[in-house]
Each structure stands twice: as C-alpha cells, then as structure tokens.
Symmetry: C2
Subunit: 397 residues, 2 copies
C-alpha cells in the first residue's frame, strides 16, 4: 500500500518514460510521418494510447513527483519547481528530498524486494526522485555519479559513450541508454526514466531536432521491448508557443499595488529553455491589497484563472503552505513574468515555447500492452499521468 493504493510487484521488467514537454502533438506528428515505427507496431498489437491529464501547474517537478507517488501535490508537497519559503522570505528550488511528503512507489516496491532504479536527464530532479534510498543517476552527471547500491562505478563506461551536455538534443536518450545498460548488466524490475524538454522548448513538432529526438526515442523503445520490458510512456506537461508575455509586477505597480511579490514556479537553474517564463504564477501580496491585485490581474487579456490561496488549494490540489496568496494561470499563447527588467530573453532566440498552464496539462498516456476492465474504459476516458504506475502494475490484461 503506497499513498492509499496497492501496487503489485512487477512480474516482468517494467519501465515508465516521462517525456519532459512530451506534448501529444509531437507524437501525433511523428506517427503521421512514420517516424516512430516501433511505437506504431506496439499500438497496433494491442498497446493503448489516450490523452490524459497532468497536475497543475504543468511543470516538471510537480508532475514527476505525482507520477512516482501516484498522488497530487496536496499530498506529495511539491507544487512547483520553485517556491517562496514563508519562513525565510526567500525563493527556493523545490529540489531537496526534505520537501517530499509522500513516499514513492519505487521506494515501497524496493522495500518489498524489487530492484528499482531512477534515471533522470537533468540532475536537478534526481535527488527528489531518489528519496527513500532509491538508486538514482542522471545523464547530466553520469561522468561523476556512481551506483554503489549496484556496485557499479563508471556509468559512462557502462553505456559505452561519454554523456552529452545539457543543451545537446540527446541528453534524454542518454538517460534511456543508462537504464538499458544497467538492466543488461543486472536485471531491473522497475525503472523510471525522466527525460528533459530542451528540444521541446526549442522546436515545435516536425522541426529537425524534434524529429531526431522522437526517432531515437523510438529506436530505444525497440531496444527496451527486445529486453522484455513492459513499457509506459507519459509526459509531465505539454508545450505551446507563447508570443505574449505579461509582467505581473509591472501590472501591479501600475494598479497601485505596492506590496506584491510575484513568484514563478517554473523557475529552475536552466534559463536557456524559457527564461523562467511560463503560464502559471503565484502572487504574494497580503490581505490589504489582495482584492485590488486580484482585480488588476483578472482583467488582463491572456490571464485565465485567478484564485485565492484557499481556492487554489482545493481546485489545483495544492498544499496551502507552499503556494501564493493568489494563483494565476495564463492562456495557451501567454506567459507570465515578474517585471520586464527581471527576465533575460536574450537566450530564447526563436520565440518562447513554454508551459505551466492548463493548456499544457494534456499528456499522452501509453501502455505497451492491452488493459483489462475497468482500467481500459477509464484509460480511454482520460486518466492522470499519476495513474501510469497503477496501469502498468495492476491493470495489464
């Protein structure tokens, strides 16, 4: 029993791939141009693909934690990549294991005897996923990390090539190669591989690097299948071009709200992707100017939802102590920033592509084998990415 659900021990090697920024439109485009022949074969042999929901905000850390715990941020405690610590008044990355309030499925199944491994593309997520003594490694730091639990030293040597840089298109595929190499050496029962969305931030479906990303992804899927893996594929969030940017601190200044502090939960150390601009923001403003701030923000074209802390906690399933006084979402075309002066857009190049809002909440939910009822009907009607381990472990026909 993990966070209210029973999971069966894997009966065959089982892997979940979380395609960071894996908007279903990338897969649909790649299918339509026959770039993913292996996945196509899987689906024509009874594998299932439906659209499902990620949690809000549609960001990497909240969704990866939901996928590995099976529950919402209200229970796992991580509603952003980043938040304002009310005790210190400082903005902090939500990347330390102490922030996690629920055990992972992987830690529980490891305690029950399964051999499990977490592999991430970028190292920032690795420590959270490895909570509970689960062996973890990242492609980013594969040249520096070892896997002592498995008595494995040099990970790059095991893979057979040096690890790419964090802005190389195939860092994600290297993470997939690590999982494969460890499995071939030792045999794994349950593997989680979380990719990175540098390519998706840079290119829409059909561009050269995106094509290469999904072609190589498909080749590696075929290798996993040959090793006998039951495969689940989902995404943490989708991705949209966001030509409009609204700077909320500038808006609030103009409206005479002097006490506001805007916190962007998409913030992470890698600004080249998105300059910390996405479609979700928290506003810390205090009671006196709350209503004025709410009205000023709600009136903006491009802003969608504006909630009080209590509303947001219920509607988004967020922990009340780690969110703002207001929670704000923007539409598909709009990103939210602090003030124009606080964001460096020089690295964004060809136009901002980002996520964080409702319009990037739609993700693929793929299982490589048929599901039995009632799971099959539920899957077709739209489950959460947080349900993918239940589908793989409990629902395969």
């Amino acid at each position: 029993m993990v966070n209210g659900r029973e999971y069966r021990l894997p009966r065959q090697p089982t892997v979940v791939f979380t395609i960071d920024g894996g908007d279903p439109r990338y897969l649909d485009d790649a299918f339509s141009r026959a770039l993913m022949p292996h996945l196509k074969t899987v689906l024509s042999n009874g594998g299932v693909y439906a659209l499902g929901r990620g949690c809000m905000p549609s960001l990497t850390n909240p969704n990866n934690l939901s996928i590995v715990t099976g529950v919402s941020p209200s229970l796992h405690g991580v509603p952003g990549n980043h938040y304002l610590d009310p005790a210190s008044g400082e903005e902090v990355q939500l990347s330390d294991p102490r922030f996690l309030r629920a055990p992972t499925i992987h830690a529980a199944l490891q305690a029950a005897g399964a051999r499990v491994l977490m592999v991430t593309a970028k190292d920032k997520l690795r420590r959270l996923l490895g909570t509970g003594e689960v062996p973890s490694v990242s492609a980013e730091c594969a040249d520096r990390l070892e896997l002592p639990a498995f008595h494995l030293g040099n990970v790059c040597e095991l893979v057979g090539r040096p690890n790419p840089g964090i802005y190389d298109w195939d860092l994600s595929q290297y993470a997939m190669e690590i999982g494969l190499a460890v499995h071939r050496r030792l045999g794994l029962d349950l593997l989680y591989v979380s990719l990175t969305d540098y390519v998706q931030h840079k290119q829409p479906p059909g561009d050269t690097m995106a094509d290469r990303f999904f072609q190589r992804f498909d080749e590696l899927l075929a290798e996993y299948a040959r090793e006998g893996f039951l495969i689940g594929i989902t995404a943490d969030h989708g991705m949209n071009a966001k030509p409009r940017i609204i700077y909320l601190e500038d808006v609030l200044d103009a409206a005479g709200v002097s006490t506001a502090r805007v916190v962007l939960p998409i913030t992470d150390p890698y600004v080249v992707h998105h300059g910390a601009l996405g479609s979700f923001a928290w506003v810390h403003v205090g009671d006196a100017q709350l209503e004025r701030a709410r009205q000023a923000i709600a009136a903006l074209d491009g802003v969608e939802e504006v909630y009080s802390r209590e509303e947001a906690a219920v509607i988004f399933e967020h922990p009340t102590d780690r969110i703002g006084d207001l929670s704000v979402t923007a539409d598909a075309q709009t990103a939210l920033g602090k003030s124009a002066a606080k964001h460096d857009l020089s690295a964004i190049g060809n136009g901002l592509r980002s996520h964080g809002g409702r319009h990037e909440q739609i993700v693929p939910i793929i299982v490589s084998r048929p599901l039995r009822e009632p799971y099959a009907s539920q899957h077709a009607a739209g489950v959460r990415n947080a349900d993918i381990h239940e589908l793989l472990l409990n629902a395969v026909a």
Copy 2:
C-alpha cells in the same frame, strides 16, 4: 466492484446528504453563529470536515451523478443539466436514465442485498438517480409518487404533513423527512438525499431564509443521528453573487461569427432560480469560425478558461460527444448567457446568485465519524464529492 472501486456493504444505516448549492460559506457562517449545534457536536466528537472539489461544470446533474457513481462525467456521461443533441440539433434536458453510462453505487449495493433509497427535493433529478431499479421518490411529487418496491403508498401520509411547493424554503427538509420516515418504517441500509438550491440562489449566508434552512437541516441531522445513521454531507456546487452577465451570442455576433450557437448546461425547467445564467457555457460553432470565436470570447474580462472540445474533454473529464466545440468558464462575479433577448431576468429579483464555474467547485466534505489512514490524510488534503461514498463505506475508523 462499481466503476473500478470496491465498496463494502453498509454495516450501519448510512446516509449521504447533498446540499444543492451548499457552499462551505453557508456552513461556516452558521457555525460561527451557533446555528448548527448538532453538527458542531458531531465535529467535536471526531467527525471530519474539509473542503473538497466537485466536478465541472459546477452544476446539479453532473455532480449528483458523480456522487452516486463515484466517477467523472467522462465515464458517467452527464456533463450538464442540459446539452445539444448532435443527432437532432435540439437542446435536451439530461434527465432521462438513458443518458447515464455508469451504474450507481446504490444499484450495485442493492443487487448485493442492501436496502437502498434515493430521495430528491426536485423531481427532475429523481429518474436519473433511480436508474437500475433503485427505489426513488421526490419531495416535489411526494403527493403523487408511491414506493411500490417497499409496498408503501402515500408518502405524504408517512411523513405526516403535506409536501411543500417547489419554491418553499423547506422542500429540501421535506426530502430529509421522507428518508427518515421510510427508515423508521422499514429500516434502510443506504440512503441518498439530494436537496435543492432555491434558498441558496435567493440568499447569501446569514439571511433569514438561509438561516432557517440550515437550522432545520441541523435539527434533522440530529434525528438521523438518533436513528443510528452514519452521515456524510457534501454539496453539488457552491454559490456566488454574479453581478455581471456576458451574453456570448451577442459578443460573437459583434465579432462577425455568424454560425455560433451557445448552449448553457445550467438550463433546467425552473428558471426562477437563475434564469439559466451560470458561469459555464458551450459554444457550437464549427471549424471555420472556431478560432475567431475563441479569440473573441477569450478577450472578455470576466471569462476565465476557453478550451477546444478535445482540451475540455481531458481537463474537465467530459464525454466528447456531449459538449460544445468550445467550453467557456467565467469568474466568480460573472454569468454567461445566450443573448440579452433570450433570458428573462424579471424573476431574479434581488440580483443573480448562481454557479457553474470553477469558483463554485469548492464544496464541504463531512463525515460524522473519524476516518482511518490513508483516507484521513487524503480527506484533509481535499478529495472529491464523488469520493464521499468511499469515505463512508470503506474509510470510517
């Protein structure tokens, strides 16, 4: 097993009350003025009260069906009180049992031997809830309906007073009295009582009729407790004053969108409550003018979310064949209409109070006894009203 979940048979008489329009602010206000002494005692003796979520749109039929099936509209098939039938092109009330695509928990437990009963205040909901041969009766039609399954004839005689009219404040309490009377005569295992929101549409927390409503509700709770009932209380939706009305067909006409048809899923036969104005609308517009319609609507102050059919199906968990090409939500202060000419506001009197949007998705989730883990933590972090039967039947300590 009902819709993917196991429910235990009731081990004591068990009742769920769904307070139509039972915004938590009514309860909080009544508590603060000591108007609900029985409920206060229940909560101080280990009963639990937390805020949770209803489904979208925050309307009566979708939420009542979610509560009695345990699943979302994508699975139970009823995303509104009303919809546009694509086959006929006509607008139809979603009140016939043929629209329901999932069995109720009550039908399943009845088949397993439990004595169950559905009681509604208004008759419009009764037939849907009674799907699967579940005995059902409404306060509205108590003078005309019998309960042949229980060999009971005149329901009003059993209650001991004539049934009130549909615009009397105590029609809801009469529904509660019916359940009590049938239980005293026969013994019930599982009872569902769905109230009506005429009072909540008319009055904010603290007004005379609202006070009377919650005082009498509390007195009846005490009577149920004396009969040994395990009690769950939730709501289908909250309620907000909506001083602003946006007429979407007028907006679309002005934007040059000639093909649009606006459908309001709040529509029901009782227009005195809300004049069919709420914070949710569907737009049927076809592909050619879809993007123009989307932009015109999204730019409006007061509109929050605007989704395509595919997005709405995933984000709101809706059945794709029973929704519009666009789904639109409005903020707490804003209601959506067709055109000014198509709504009769004369009956609304003291100002519109209504629901349908996200800001009315917050509902109380009350159980009269302590919960065991992991349910207790989940409940505190915010469950769905659709989970209340699971809490009562599976989670009580």
